[in-house]
């Protein structure tokens, strides 16, 4: 368990870390550690395989989750879940990419994986009252279901392949970003 912050500089992050440590003390069986966000940016490129679970604040999470998506091949295959106590929202990490409208190059994998997470969530939350258990299960199961297949090169091809084999491969490559180079609709 890694807490990513900037507590060496800003008061609010020192408070963030303090609360993290309090929470960690209630979970002594899990190894908890901290990392400054600048070091984490380096480590996520240098040795991303050495991490399991990390938690960070809103803006650092916004940035590092994009870095994470790049590590596995791009926005087009990165799903996400936003969990609350009463609601849950599932969404591909990519934005609307208006610059590739109609070109058939949109990657449906992230949306399909996000939908899979939602279905997993529904299944788990009906069996297990704990939302937490469901989130964990869905995050990992969705990942495990993914298998590579670079033969499906178009949106429709990938979608057809998925229909034929629901546990089949994702489409390679990341979702293109919008024309300005910025992502749309997924801040």
């Amino acid at each position: 368990m890694m807490c990513v912050d900037k507590s060496n500089v800003l008061q609010s992050y020192a408070f963030f870390r303090e609360i993290f440590d309090e929470t960690a003390a209630r979970h002594p069986h899990l190894r908890a550690d901290h990392c400054y966000v600048d070091a984490m940016a380096l480590n996520l490129v240098a040795k991303p395989w050495s991490y399991d679970v990390m938690v960070t604040e809103n803006m650092f999470g916004d940035i590092l989750s994009d870095l994470g998506a790049a590590l596995i091949g791009g926005m087009g295959i990165a799903p996400s879940a936003d969990i609350g106590s009463g609601h849950a929202l599932f969404q591909p990490c990519h934005g609307s990419a208006p610059d590739i409208i109609g070109t058939g190059r949109a990657n449906p994998t992230a949306m399909i994986l996000s939908a899979a997470m939602l279905l997993d969530w529904l299944g788990e939350t009906r069996r297990v009252p704990s939302c937490v258990a469901a989130a964990a299960a869905c995050a990992r199961r969705s990942s495990r279901r993914s298998r590579a297949d670079s033969s499906s090169r178009s949106s429709s091809g990938a979608t057809r392949a998925r229909r034929a084999s629901p546990r089949g491969p994702p489409l390679a490559g990341g979702q293109r970003r919008a024309g300005t180079g910025e992502r749309r609709g997924s801040g």
Binding site: M1, M2, L10, S12, F15, I19, F20, A24, H27, H29, L30, P48, S50, Y51, D52, V53, M54, V55, T56, E57, N58, M59, D62, S65, G68, A69, L71, I72, G73, P79, S80, A81, D82, G84, L89, F90, Q91, P92, C93, P98, A115, L118, W121, L122, V132, A133, A137, A139, S143, R144, S146, R147, A148, P170, A172, T180, R184, G185, S186, G187
Partner: protein, 334 residues
Amino acid sequence: MRIVDIREGAVSLRSDISNAFISFAEMDASIVALVTDVVRDGRPAIGYGFHSNGRYAQRSILRERLIPSLLTAETEALLNDAHDNFDPGRMWAAMMRNEKPGGRGERSVAVGTLDMAIWDAVAKIEEQPLYRVLADRYGNGSAEESPFVYAAGGYYYPGKDLGALQEEMRSYLDLGYTVVKMKIGGASLSEDRARGEAVLHRRFAPRRDHERGHARRRILFGAMGLPHVRISDGREIAPQLDLRERLHLYAGVRSVKAIAGLPLPLADPRALEVDFVLVRESTERLFAERESGTMKPAGEARDSLVISRAACERPFDFTFALARVGGPAEDRAA
């Protein structure tokens, strides 16, 4: 040094607005001018005062009691010990002579109006801004360079719909205000609730979709947004951020797992072992204050950051539980 004259008058604040209790169709306010014989910068030092909207002018109390009390007081009794300025405390004592102590709302409005004029005159005689005078007298001499202010609005008026209310509040934010006040209590509870929601949701997220989202509880969300659709200050619309806040989606789960067979950016073979989950606290910090950013004309933009215990504990608890359920975190943590 003496008071030459104290003039009072009333100005009309007539408008079609109303709040929970009154219409402003006949609203007015008192104005006063406290004229001294002191000359500063070639002009007589005159203190001006007025009072807030919603109180009605207090002409009779001013004209019949407070002003005569000041004008008939011994000049000596109104000055400070050095005799180089008026003493607001002593002027208060003169003004309140033979006034029964205790709360009288109307009188306090009248006294407050004169009080403003007195302090204005005192600051002008000292040739200092009033905030500086107050900081020197009652503080440690240091004054806030940018005081907190808010925009008071959100009144009812005929034909004003939710869109007009949102526009009004938006215009205050565009002026640089970070806090606005709006009136409630003049309509039914459900109507006022809708007004409040509309203002809190002053951004562009379609309200009906939010309502549907509430009803459904599990939401699959696509992508939304066009590059050229922007808020006037250049920021993008962000319905997904609104949803996170509105539905209290406090934990953003980002699964990062390499998939065999896909081209990966890292050449190291261990890149295929990448498998972690990043949980992002999603309702606070910089983004929570994204409606409160200010831009000063001098070329300085400010955003503020917020971290609260309540907002941290939920995602932390969630993440620790996630690690517990998810596998042998003990073995793999860096």
